[in-house]
Subunit: 467 residues, 2 copies
């Protein structure tokens, strides 16, 4: 089940590296089964492929030390933040050393005047926001999990706020990284914009640990808006909801969030989070701005939604109500799992141009039904990015085969609509063939870059690039 | 004067390539002196280094043909859009073939529903906006010149709107490019966001023609705002003006433009554009949004400006007045030249974190005065990016030496403030030593990438990377 390709192991090198690292790191090198497994992939149906050892690094210098040791013996290095990736990024198909940066969790500096901050890679997004709150600032990127900033940068993560604030691509100002030869680089200054040479920041963001280990991140921050208002609106069909989203984007309404839940997800969320939303397709919205601006946005949305049969459009009245609504959205994954106890969720992550969103979501619903699969859909609709999560019985070989066929069909559909096989989860292990389908010869250029930076393929091998 | 380093010429190869291209392109290969000089650098004091021939390409296939021919003989290829770059990007220090894409000037598709479009690289920003206007759309990136979209992508250009809409980095969705071996790649799908592998789009944006020739660009567009309002506000000092900008950014006021003109520029602009602005430091502003939103923004700005002694804050009342104000801003370069007839302007382009802007601008004014130079300053202040343009008598060797010393000092100052030696003009020829000062070991990584993609160094040699 899932992706289980193993790669050739360099047994001698791995043995030698473990010996050297034990000298250097003592108890901060761990080789017990439980810890190793926890540092392999654990979140989806992909096979767990544990590393041979885990080093809990505490500084950039230590990360460089581990990488130099691994480089000397040509042993794989796999960076690890919180392990919440969904595409097998932390798996070790050829074994090797996991560098766990969770102890590198300091907020180094907050420059409130410049709306930026420097953090170590193990700081999680929630810890960062807790740290920032007193200064009236926040960091908007919010994948479902409380992921580490380093991991979010490495996978070019985004989430519900991306329609307004962009993805990690847009919010990382620079990174410090240790390259595969142990060199430490900083990719950019702290200027808000620059034309200084190749954009190494954007090259490292989304490189999934295959070009180096990110050891520090400088981030753009936002002021907490004067006013925030959340709302929900029900629709007679997924098509009507998607068409409303299209109208909102085309109108240029600066929604901070516009999330789609299909009827099945609404049902799951009602049950799981004790809500009583009408069990039809739903949009969840958030507006940020001044008091007057937010109320104007909310009113404009109402007018647009009317045109597509939106009903029950209601703004939350209190912070508590708003938090409850978004908590329910963030819990959708668990709520869906609860729809079918014992199942595993198989995440998908396609994105299409907004004009094709309605068509893509409708076809996806039809296809999963045709294959007899349960695949509720949530979407960061304003970005044309949606997730159909197939709830699979891991014991049912036939269902697994149908699920694989569904995923393949869905990725192909997105690509045929000039979209992408991954809006925010990354390529990791399983999507490598789809990357080639999506970008063709450009993937050869990625291979050239990879070989130039990492000629011995020690940095997170078996990810992004085709075998 | 300026940068004149010549590189070794491959005479035999160049001769052979000219022969082959003459067969292939007949009159669309030009080798006359006037055309060759016009395709070398012409805009600033940098030496003109003309290519050996200019091919007027009409399609991606033709660009690929030229590149393959040049690759076979290891002859340099220099992409050319409108030639408005300020850092010698189109110079041919080792000779070679200029590929002029100005005839590739079609808007291929406008997807109004997705707020994007596909254009050939020779489309200029003004031509694009003329094309888009009827559909209620616009493309916001506005360097002073009417540059080509391909050139703007290649230099990661921006301009006055970047504080609100970002730079080319943020507004290019994907590019088609011909690589140095003649392969044609497309860097991304048309999805609004994607995590599909290395961000080749952002690698090509800002690569200044050194990695390949951009033959098509997919751009994000914006809806023309319901309301636009421009305003100007005078300040008792450059420091007060900069501090107001800092306050605006920290407040999160979504200004579309916030431009700084120092007193000398205001004087120049008054004379050149027949305006009667008070001859003290000035901020020019533009607000985009709904009618109510724009008026709220304008009011908030007024309150912030009051705190720093802003006076004469006045909104333009008509479209004509607004156009006149921005035309004056865009003509500032010519207005400054008129301050000292017969002089050449030497552009600088540093950027610093906003919190250091006041300090940087004040010190820059002091330094130019100390050196006896005339160096008026305009700035995209909301981005911390400003241009001191030294007006130099090209016959005065001593003044030239002082100018070179000033530029060196200014770049060092920006770097010492954790800023950049180039906010938007790019590295080109003359700033290569400063790139190394700014980013250190990261420049070695850029070199690794360059050698991997272009092992024979045929793509725009002598730019970005140190010799």
């Amino acid at each position: 089940m899932g992706q289980a390709t193993a790669m050739t192991r360099n047994e001698d090198g791995i043995g030698a590296v473990l010996g050297v690292l034990k000298q250097q790191f003592a108890d901060r090198l761990q080789t017990g089964d439980a810890i190793r497994e926890q540092h392999g992939h654990t979140t989806t149906w992909l096979t767990n492929q544990p590393p041979d050892g885990v080093v809990f690094a505490q500084s950039t210098a230590e990360v460089a030390e581990v990488i130099k040791t691994c480089a000397a013996y040509k042993v794989p290095v796999i960076p690890f933040g919180t392990g919440t990736s969904l595409e097998g990024h932390v798996n070790a198909p050829a074994g090797g050393i996991s560098i766990d940066v969770s102890q590198m969790n300091k907020v180094i500096a907050v420059n409130a005047a410049d709306l930026d901050c420097r953090v170590q890679p193990g700081v999680t997004r929630m810890a960062l926001n807790t740290h920032l709150r007193d200064q009236g600032l926040f960091f908007p990127i919010d994948p479902g999990a409380d992921a580490s900033i380093g991991g979010m940068a490495a996978t070019r993560a985004s989430g519900t706020n991306a329609v307004r604030y962009g993805t990690m691509k847009d919010n990382v100002i620079s990174v410090e990284a240790v390259m595969p030869d142990g060199r430490i680089i900083r990719t950019a200054s702290r200027a808000r914009k620059s034309s200084a040479g190749y954009d190494l920041t954007r090259l490292m963001v989304g490189s999934e640990g295959t070009l180096g280990v990110i050891t520090e991140v400088t981030l753009r921050l936002q002021g907490i808006p004067e006013a925030i208002s959340a709302a929900s609106c029900s629709f007679p069909s997924v098509k009507a909801a998607c068409e409303t989203v299209m109208a909102v984007i085309q109108y240029g309404l600066p929604v901070a969030r516009i999330e789609l839940l299909d009827a099945m997800v609404v049902r799951a969320v009602n049950a799981y989070s004790k809500l009583s939303l009408p069990e039809t397709p739903l949009l969840l919205l958030e507006f940020h701005g001044s008091e007057a601006g937010v109320s104007e946005q909310a009113q404009t949305f109402g007018t647009l939604a009317d045109d597509f049969g939106g009903t029950g459009y209601a703004a939350t009245q209190t912070l508590e109500e708003r938090n409850r609504l978004w908590q329910a959205r963030h819990d959708a994954y668990w709520a869906m799992l609860a729809l079918r106890p014992g199942c595993k969720a198989v995440a998908t992550d396609v994105g299409v141009p907004i004009s094709r969103l309605a068509e893509a979501v409708v076809k996806t619903n039809e296809k999963s039904a045709e294959l007899g699969l349960i695949a509720p859909i949530v979407g960061h609709a304003g970005d044309g990015n949606f997730h159909a999560s197939v709830l699979v019985d891991p014991q049912d070989a036939d269902e697994i085969a149908r699920t694989e066929s569904f995923i393949s069909w869905l990725n192909d559909l997105a690509i045929s609509l000039d979209g992408t096989c991954t809006g925010e989860h990354g390529i990791g292990q399983g999507k490598r063939p789809y990357l080639v389908k999506e970008l063709g010869a450009a993937v050869d250029v990625m291979g050239q870059l990879k070989r130039a930076i990492d000629p011995n393929n020690i940095m997170n091998p078996g990810k992004i690039l085709p075998a």
